[in-house]
């Protein structure tokens, strides 16, 4: 029973983390609240897509071949990774200027594009994690029907989901207790790590499909030091893209990712930092 609850929690928590952070960000300002319908729209689209993907995994539908599924998974991971980085960049740049931009009416087009980004990102995150949860729960409960434990299993599943919702709630609480600045920094780091892990997952799929060459495979084997099948290694693999047997091309992708992120975020800092403030000068 605990295992069922744990797996449901684990499968839901990544999507809820993402939705929770975006929710806290958007709720922060009146301008951001306009994005909330897009956020919930993304959740709804994601749930729908999760259902469709679950039919595929349960073998009820076959609208994608096995390879097609893998490509689809790769595309979802890569697009989600790019959207997370774009979202962090957008928030950084707009955290301070959103109000002025909107008043000037200059950035309305860009704002619209960003709301679409929110919708896509949330839909992908929910679909990715949700489909596996649906298959897992459906299969477990169906198996439990014959042994008479279906109710208990369903309850365990609900308990796992409630625990995941608890993580969502903790996040919102964190937004209240920490200063906004600190909360933003913290969640920003979490999202950038998550985007990195999504990117590495995407490269895993591309390598196994034979699209991305490995160059050297593996560059090292750190499985004796920190294996990825349990404990800290698994958490790092799921949330930061750690691999015990990385291919050279993955390592290069990883390096390139952090260079690009660093350069992007540096640009936002340069743009907003050297603004003279008359009030502080006079004081």
């Amino acid at each position: 029973m605990e295992q069922v609850a744990f797996i449901v929690w684990r499968e839901s928590v990544e999507a809820l983390l993402l939705v929770g952070i975006l929710y806290a960000w958007l709720r922060q300002s009146p301008e951001g609240r306009k994005g909330l319908p897009w956020l919930w729209g993304g959740v709804a689209c994601g749930a729908l897509l999760a259902g469709l993907l679950a039919l595929l995994l349960l073998g009820i539908s076959s609208w994608l071949s096995s390879e097609g599924q893998e490509l689809f998974q790769a595309a979802m991971a890569l697009v989600a990774s790019a959207l997370v980085v774009q979202m962090v960049y957008w928030m950084r740049r707009h955290g301070r200027t959103l109000k002025q931009d909107l008043q000037a009416g200059a950035d309305r087009e860009m704002e619209r594009a960003n709301w679409w980004g929110v919708l896509f990102l949330v839909a992908i995150a929910v679909a990715r994690e949700g489909s596996e949860t649906v298959v897992f729960l459906y299969g477990m409960v169906a198996a439990g029907v014959s042994s008479g434990s279906a109710w208990k299993l369903a309850l365990a599943g609900v308990a796992g989901f409630v625990a995941a919702l608890g993580s969502f709630w903790l996040l919102q609480l964190g937004g209240k207790f920490l200063t906004w600045r600190r909360f933003f920094r913290l969640t920003e780091v979490l999202l950038l790590l998550l985007a990195c892990s999504l990117l590495v997952t995407g490269t895993d799929r591309l390598i196994s499909l034979g699209i991305l060459p490995t160059l050297i495979d593996p560059v090292w084997d750190s499985s004796a030091l920190l294996a990825t099948d349990s404990g800290l290694g698994k958490v790092l693999a799921d949330f930061a893209g750690y691999r015990a047997f990385p291919a050279l091309s993955q390592l290069l992708t990883w390096l390139l990712y952090w260079i690009v992120v660093w350069a992007l975020l540096r640009r936002t800092r340069q743009r907003s930092a050297p603004r003279p403030r008359p009030s502080s000068v006079s004081a």
Binding site: Q3, I7, L57, L58, G59, I60, L64, S65, S66, E67, G68, L71, F72, A75, V79, A82, L83, A113, W116, G117, F120, S131, E132, V135, F136, Y138, G139, M140, A142, A143, S146, D204, R205, I207, S208, L209, G210, I211, D217, P218, S223, T228, D229, S230, A237, R243, A244, F245
Partner: protein
């Protein structure tokens, strides 16, 4: 922006998927079965290095997730579902895998040098 990019990319993916599926048809194939009680058959699967197809059959009543980070594979299958993964492994070694939905179910893929 993301919208139009996605629209351009999807047909390409589908075409590629069909090509890949055709290529996968002629590969040497090995079978791994999740038995009705959830255990693996075989627990140690020996395969020659190179490119091959691993046929996965879930005969159990519960959903399973064949997963291995060293093999870079993750495959969720509902009860009674049959699927496959294509692997290219050039380095002879032992590669562990497990059922992510039943963490105590573990197996090993033993890759031996090409005959």
């Amino acid at each position: 922006m993301a919208h139009s990019a996605l629209r351009k990319v999807v047909p390409f993916f589908l075409a590629f998927a069909m090509m890949a599926a055709a290529a996968a048809a002629e590969l040497p194939t090995f079978t791994l079965t999740f038995q009705p009680d959830g255990s693996l058959d075989p627990v140690r699967l020996e395969v020659p290095a190179g490119r091959f197809k691993l046929l996965l059959i879930n005969h159990s009543k519960e959903p399973v997730e064949f997963e291995s980070l060293p093999l870079r594979k993750e495959k969720v299958m509902g009860p009674g579902v049959e699927s496959f993964v294509v692997l290219t492994i050039s380095r002879p070694d032992e590669y562990p895998f497990f059922d992510d939905f039943h963490q105590d179910i573990k197996g090993t893929l033993v890759v031996v040098p090409k005959p």
